[in-house]
Symmetry: none
Subunit: 253 residues, 2 copies
């Protein structure tokens, strides 16, 4: 697949950006590296003249940006999602450096749309948002001052993506996916699986919705890491449904 | 030589920057990557509140920036000098990509101070300025829109410098192991999980042991690929056991 096409399949999602200037800077950073699909989840101020000023010749990327009501909406259809995260979390998706995650994103982009998710300038991504991502990337910084500007972070990652997309040694094959595998599940299919797990776990008393603890994050981490396929989602949901039917049927007796 | 020391020997020189905001962004970009020696040759407006606002926590880099009357003055003492150049010139120094030139800069920094020179936002570096540099670096961009922001260009190059400076010292990131994760499950624990799945699937009628098809191989492929942890085995078997208890309990009624 042509590098230009791979890059066009990479969506950049900004969650709750505070400063319109950073939205413009992100659009410019994307376009210089050949990306164009920008999504904005609850931007504080948009559109805004400051965003257009900072976008300069990338105002087209800004104009075609889609505004979404939730991260889930922005991720619809994406087969692989990477969150930028400045800190290690106790329980989160696997984490890697930009070069490594750029490789993963490009490999998955050959199969369908992928997304790179950035949090708010001050507070980053919420745990709930991180849980919706399959992997995380950290840009290594000076431990005494790790506060990268949002536009600069977008620039660094888009730069790595373009550099790798045009390199000769692009990892064309994802080693975790064997031949004859079915297509990867989309973001919404994965969310459907998690909801089904939660329903079964709650019905059986294994999960107490009042005190959920860390069960669901652990389930998400496991299946997010596995890069689950459509076919496998069907099997797992089939098993879950079968236990529900049995339980329901038994209860009626 | 320690990576921190090598990075501290790399000077960033901005020639005739027009926008004070970009000077602040450059200072911030430098500090996030462990650089601190900023030189300004004929800045149009400096100091300026806009520069301080964009520098955020890197105001110290801004405050200690030296203002020079000429590029020659800014380069005094430097043993190796690389210019950022967006275009190839008929007659100029050798030109390379960021990764390559970051390597050269770090190698030379072991011998003495080195410099990375950036031109004005609109007109770049003059031929006379380019001639004072030993090598040039071009950041590969989208040929249809190559207009990288000055602060973003500083960020990309400082990022490459830090990544390379720490390359040997960086702990190898195993993408499958996240911090605080539990140990990987053993072979027999995995087999126990598969047997438990088979039991539940058979009890619910989802799996017909007479005609098992490819269900179990698919389950094995999924969890084998995920490199499942002990902790995760316990959760999955807990869920399976909970569905069995509910079913069994209901049946007794």
């Amino acid at each position: 697949m042509k590098p230009e096409l791979l890059l066009s399949r990479i969506r950049v999602v900004l969650c709750r950006p505070s400063h319109p200037g950073n939205i413009g800077a992100a659009a410019r950073a994307m376009k210089t590296m050949g990306l164009s699909d920008l999504r904005l989840v609850h931007p504080r101020t948009f559109p805004d003249p400051e965003a257009e000023a900072r976008a300069t010749g990338a105002v087209d990327v800004l104009k075609s940006a889609k505004i979404d009501d939730s991260l889930a909406e922005a991720l619809a259809g994406a087969v692989f999602v990477v969150a930028l995260s400045a800190r290690r979390r106790d329980l989160g998706p696997e984490i890697g450096v930009p070069r490594e995650m750029a490789g993963r994103l490009l490999a998955e982009a050959a199969k369908g749309p992928v997304a790179l998710v950035f949090g708010n300038e001050s507070v980053g991504l919420s745990n709930d948002e991180i849980q919706q991502c399959h992997a995380a990337v950290t840009i290594p910084t000076n431990p005494e001052f790790s506060s990268l500007n949002l536009g600069s972070a977008v620039q660094v990652l888009c730069y790595e993506l373009r550099t790798l997309a045009f390199a000769d040694n692009l990892p064309a094959v994802d080693p975790t996916v064997t031949p004859f595998s079915s297509p990867l599940a989309s973001h919404d299919e994965l969310e459907g699986l998690y909801a089904h797990f939660a329903a079964v776990m709650t019905a059986t008393g294994f999960l107490n919705p009042e005190q959920p603890g860390r069960l669901m994050p652990k389930i998400r981490r496991l299946f997010g890491r596995a890069r689950i396929e459509k076919d496998e989602i069907n099997i797992l949901r089939g098993i879950l449904a079968a236990t529900q039917n049995t339980t329901g049927h038994a209860r009626k007796n």
